[in-house]
């Protein structure tokens, strides 16, 4: 049977790639130290598959059709199309795990979720910045799950918690022996293309970190729903962290690091969850 062996989350600011060679020394040091540590921990788990949750940044979907959740079931996925990713990201494409991905879709539908799925997805900076910085070698197969976190309405925090719990059940119901790690990317607070662009809401970030440490699912969903209404639009990406939290069993986490990073336009967090039995 497949087994969840790890759950992580990290920010994915495009400026990490765009400004890598020109950013302040302190920023590059912080990012190097903390993403290296996450990569070290993840590599030690020797995963066969990495299930990544992130928003799509207007790469795969437009207003013609925006799924709340879309699971990538392709044999392979396209690499990031953004010009600023080309010089840093070493892969034109990344291998998928279509059998596990199809299993997740089918399991979700039988559990009263309604995800879409796609055989042809491009993985933008949202998924590829953390993967790049962790320098995973060999690269595990990737099952991407895009969540709509760029154009309202979004899936609720409560629904994202439920999706994470369902995903754990789906992984454990998969018949083959696979070591699976879940990675949620995005956040913490940021404001993009709004009148408040550049705002890093540190009190919001610290309050979220406290919720991840010990809040019950009910309190978590209630508090976060209210908090998200009062921070920048990038805070919506906390929903990818919620999936990482719930898939691990909502039993607290180890914050690898957090720092407000105005030059990256985000409050940058990196975390690993304890996997509850």
């Amino acid at each position: 049977m497949a087994k969840l062996v790890g759950s992580f989350a990290a920010g994915h600011a495009p400026n990490v790639a765009r400004l890598w060679d020109s950013m302040a020394f302190e920023s590059r040091e912080w990012l190097t130290t903390h993403y290296d540590e996450m990569g070290r921990r993840l590599k030690a788990l020797d995963p066969d598959v990495l299930i990544i949750h992130s928003t799509d940044h207007w790469v795969n979907f437009f207003l013609d059709n925006i799924p709340a959740f879309c699971v990538g079931i392709g044999d392979e996925h396209g690499g990031p199309p953004e010009p600023f990713m080309k010089p840093v990201f070493p892969y034109e494409s990344l291998s998928g795990h279509p059998d596990l991905a199809r299993h997740i879709v089918e399991f979700a539908l039988n559990a009263d979720f309604d995800p879409s799925y796609s055989m042809k997805l491009k993985l933008d900076h949202g998924m590829c910045v953390p993967v790049w910085r962790m320098d995973l070698k060999p690269m595990p197969a990737i099952v991407p799950v895009f969540m709509n976190l760029v154009e309202k309405p979004f899936p609720t925090p409560k629904r994202c918690l439920a999706w994470g719990h369902m995903l754990r059940d789906a992984i454990e119901a998969y018949p083959d022996d696979l070591r699976v790690v879940v990675l949620g990317t995005g956040g913490l607070s940021h404001s993009i293309g709004e009148t408040t662009m550049g705002w890093v809401d540190e009190p919001f970030d610290l309050a979220c970190i406290e919720l991840f440490k010990s809040a019950s699912d009910e309190k978590f969903a209630d508090d976060l729903s209210k908090m998200l209404e009062k921070t920048g639009n990038g805070g919506a990406e906390l929903r990818a962290w919620i999936v990482a939290h719930a898939v691990a069993g909502s039993q607290g986490f180890d914050l690898i690091g957090y720092t407000p990073m105005p030059d990256m336009l985000i409050g940058c967090g990196v975390a690993e969850w304890r996997i509850a039995a």
Partner: protein
């Protein structure tokens, strides 16, 4: 919020490899021919009237649009912060 399909479709399409040249000043009018936006939106696009466009535009696409118009993060923040709008009403 993305309330105007064709305005946001234009910005979405400009993300492609030819986006910067398609939105160069000498090519804007020709590029706009493929997008049936209102005359007011068309004029705002030609005039770089970001304040007019802002309430109808997805913020992530607006951020990208400012970049393709030649504005770095610092200038984009300056432009956006000068827009007088009820943020809650616009972006919920």
């Amino acid at each position: 919020m993305a309330t105007d399909y064709w305005l946001n479709k234009l910005l979405f399409d400009l993300q492609g490899p030819e986006g910067k040249s398609r939105w160069a000043p000498e090519n804007r009018e020709g590029t706009l021919e493929a997008y049936p936006v209102s005359s007011e939106i068309r004029q705002a696009l030609l005039d770089d009237d970001y304040e007019y466009l802002y309430p109808m535009t997805n913020p992530y696409l607006m951020r990208f649009f400012l970049l393709i118009c030649g504005h770095d993060d610092k200038k984009s923040i300056e432009i956006l912060s000068s827009i007088n709008v009820n943020e809650e009403k616009v972006h919920g």
